[in-house]
């Protein structure tokens, strides 16, 4: 690494920057923080919302949704494959269904905040064939402003996940299931 370049870049930046301008305050903007809006927007981007009355119904809800999932990973119920941060890639790559706890839902865009602490392994939410995120409907906010305002920090790694992996790189034709999870279900309770 060259400290000479660091010093040169910082000196040139300092010399060439414009006179200081103020940093604006971003207002809240309000908005509709409802499960209905969240579900409608998520459906529009290829995801699905399923409702249950409480966490007690999780296993039966998942069995109905994914009757064919043979290999499952989850910290929320007795899943078939134990996963931790050191789990080898080969085992991760063979997971059919991963079920994780989401923290915040964003009604305007169908995104769910998924922190590292809830992932079991950083690669799991994208390498799994199918992903289900469990979300408390009281944790739905209207906009990204409100979501970021609620995040204490972003940890080592974390992400907003909005729907399944997708691409339109071939003639703008939408294809669901590019590299990450082929489907995304948000289980609201």
């Amino acid at each position: 690494m060259s400290t000479a370049s660091r010093d040169r870049i910082l000196a040139a930046t300092k010399a060439n920057k414009p006179a200081e301008l103020p940093l604006p305050t971003v207002p809240d903007f309000g908005g509709e923080a409802t499960a209905e809006r969240f579900a409608a927007v998520l459906a529009g981007i290829g995801g699905t919302v399923v409702r249950m009355n409480g966490l007690g119904e999780l296993v039966s809800t998942l069995q109905q949704l994914f009757p064919e999932a043979r290999t499952t990973a989850s910290p929320l119920f007795a899943a078939s494959v134990p996963i931790n941060a050191q789990t080898p890639t080969g085992i991760l790559a063979a997971i059919d269904l991963t079920v994780l706890q989401g923290e915040i839902g964003v009604a305007e865009n169908g995104a769910v905040w998924l922190p590292e602490a809830n992932m079991m392994n950083r690669a799991l939410p994208t390498i799994t064939q199918h992903l289900a995120l469990v979300l408390d409907h009281r944790r739905i906010v209207a906009t990204m402003h409100q979501a970021y305002a609620q995040l204490p920090n972003t940890g080592g790694y974390g992400k907003f996940v909005a729907g399944p992996s997708k691409t339109a790189d071939i003639e703008q034709s939408l294809v669901i299931g590019a590299h990450g999870a082929r489907s995304l279900v948000v289980v609201l309770y």
Partner: protein, 466 residues
């Protein structure tokens, strides 16, 4: 070769040009629908513009804040003055790992630095993992759009390419099946990847973390399976606070593709235990652009591509006609800063209609900057002699009422009397290449007006005391 000559090549296939034009306009329409659904969208644009202006005005301080926070997170921070240094830093990190298999997610900066050919020359396998980028990597072509890298190709072209490189059935052109073939092929590459290289959409000074936005999930998959993550960013990617992302994530995908947000908005802040994370901060001409008051606003760009999708010239000339990493209107104001001579024709590849400025989510005055680059290029004598002298000539004519009147009389006569083959000779009259001149009127408006009866004198108005 200039932009117009390269565009001629693209225009040879009229059906494809029409398809390209309509497809990008369709993306622009999707953008409009997404934007109109957000009542505060215009306020968000202003906030984004103000946050970026503020950041540029304290950029040296924010860069140091970012570096300190990233280092406290256990991240290695590197600084590169130019493309060569950027590439050398990355090769060094890879070689220290003893790695030879690299997976890469989208980064216009690494395109700008020509990282792939450099690594390949040093015996490293580099796999672009974004589907569009993988397609053009197979075809050995540069991207033609910053968000839709393979938008110049039809599904039959992709089918042909995959038949050659992935062994898909000949004639297969179904996007679903082609994407599945790429998924299977790239899963193998992800699993084998030793070092993952990603771009950066936003770098947060406050937290030292970087944010990468994708729809495919290729950045998350590559980074989290590899032992080392290298994130490459230009100095202008900095934003001050985590909460500023509320503004930018609401603007980026809506402006780019009309989605409410990208599928993945991933925050990479600390490496996992036993792995490494590196951030390479690159100048490569950016501090110079910061020092140009007329053009520094171009550094506010968040690379959404909206200006390309809306541009009547880009849509009908294709991204490759710009011959620069970033094509379209924004590329035409970034490129002369890098090499004024080579890219001298790009600021002229515009009608100055201003549509780019209207859709820009960070309110860059793109069409004004295009106009200003033309002045700079004129001063620097970087415009073709024919354009230079005809502009000088027209400047004289239009500056004098008398010369303008005489010139008009002459031109109207000449157009009526001279043979069509001469007035429309494309060697001297580029206007006539694809257009007919209007029929010359016998009389100008001024000549007509002079012959009209003079209006009666108005009675004097009473004076109003001041």
């Amino acid at each position: 070769m200039n932009h117009a000559t390269r565009a001629d090549k693209f225009l040879l296939d009229a059906d494809r040009t029409t398809w390209h034009d309509e497809t990008l306009w369709f993306v622009r329409e999707k953008r409009d629908r997404a934007v109109y659904a957000v009542p505060e969208f215009q306020e968000l644009r202003q906030l984004a513009s103000d946050i970026k202006d503020h950041t540029l005005s304290r950029l040296d301080l924010y860069l140091q804040e970012f570096e300190a926070a990233a280092q406290a997170n256990g991240v290695h921070v590197h600084w590169a003055a130019d493309a060569a240094e950027h590439n050398a830093i990355i090769l060094d990190i890879i070689q220290k790992q003893g790695a030879t298999r690299i997976v890469k997610s989208k980064s216009m900066l690494t395109e700008e630095c020509h990282l792939n050919p450099y690594l390949i020359k040093h015996g490293i396998e580099v796999v672009d993992t974004d589907l569009g980028e993988r397609i053009i990597q197979f075809r050995d072509e540069p991207p033609s759009h910053i968000v839709l890298p393979a938008i110049h190709l039809k599904k039959e072209d992709v089918g042909e390419t995959f038949h050659t490189h992935l062994g898909t059935e000949k004639g297969e052109s179904d996007p679903q099946r082609l994407t599945e073939a790429a998924r299977q092929h790239l899963r193998g590459k992800f699993i084998a990847g030793q070092v993952a290289i990603s771009g950066v959409n936003f770098a947060i000074a406050e937290t030292g973390g970087v944010v990468v936005c994708t729809n495919e999930g290729n950045a998350d998959l590559g980074v989290n399976l590899a032992a080392v993550h290298i994130a490459c960013m230009g100095i202008e990617k900095i934003i001050p606070r985590l909460t500023d992302l509320g503004v930018f994530t609401r603007l980026l995908a809506r402006s780019a593709t009309g989605q409410p947000v990208t599928t993945y908005t991933s925050h990479f802040t600390k490496p996992v235990a036993g792995k490494e994370m590196h951030i390479v901060i690159v100048d490569n001409g950016r501090t110079q652009q910061l020092g140009r008051p007329d053009f520094r606003a171009s550094l506010k760009c968040i690379r959404c591509g909206a200006c390309m999708n809306t541009c009547p010239v880009y849509r009908r000339s294709g991204g490759h006609s710009y011959d620069f990493t970033v094509p379209g209107p924004i590329g035409a104001i970034l490129s002369p800063n890098i090499d004024m001579k080579k890219h001298a024709s790009l600021p002229f590849a515009s009608t100055l209609c201003g549509s780019c400025t209207d859709v820009c989510p960070v309110k860059i005055d793109i069409h004004t900057q295009l106009y200003k680059w033309r002045q700079v290029l004129g001063e620097a004598n970087e415009i073709p002699a024919s354009k230079k002298w005809s502009m000088k000539f027209m400047g004289r004519v239009l500056a004098s009422t008398r010369v303008y009147g005489l010139g008009g009389q002459f031109a109207r006569k000449a157009l009526r009397l001279l043979p069509h083959g001469l007035t429309h000779a494309t060697s001297v009259n580029a206007w006539a290449v694809a257009r007919e001149l209007p029929e010359a009127p016998k009389q100008s408006f001024r000549e007509w007006y002079a012959k009209q009866p003079q209006p009666a004198a108005q009675p004097a108005q009473p004076k109003i005391p001041a």
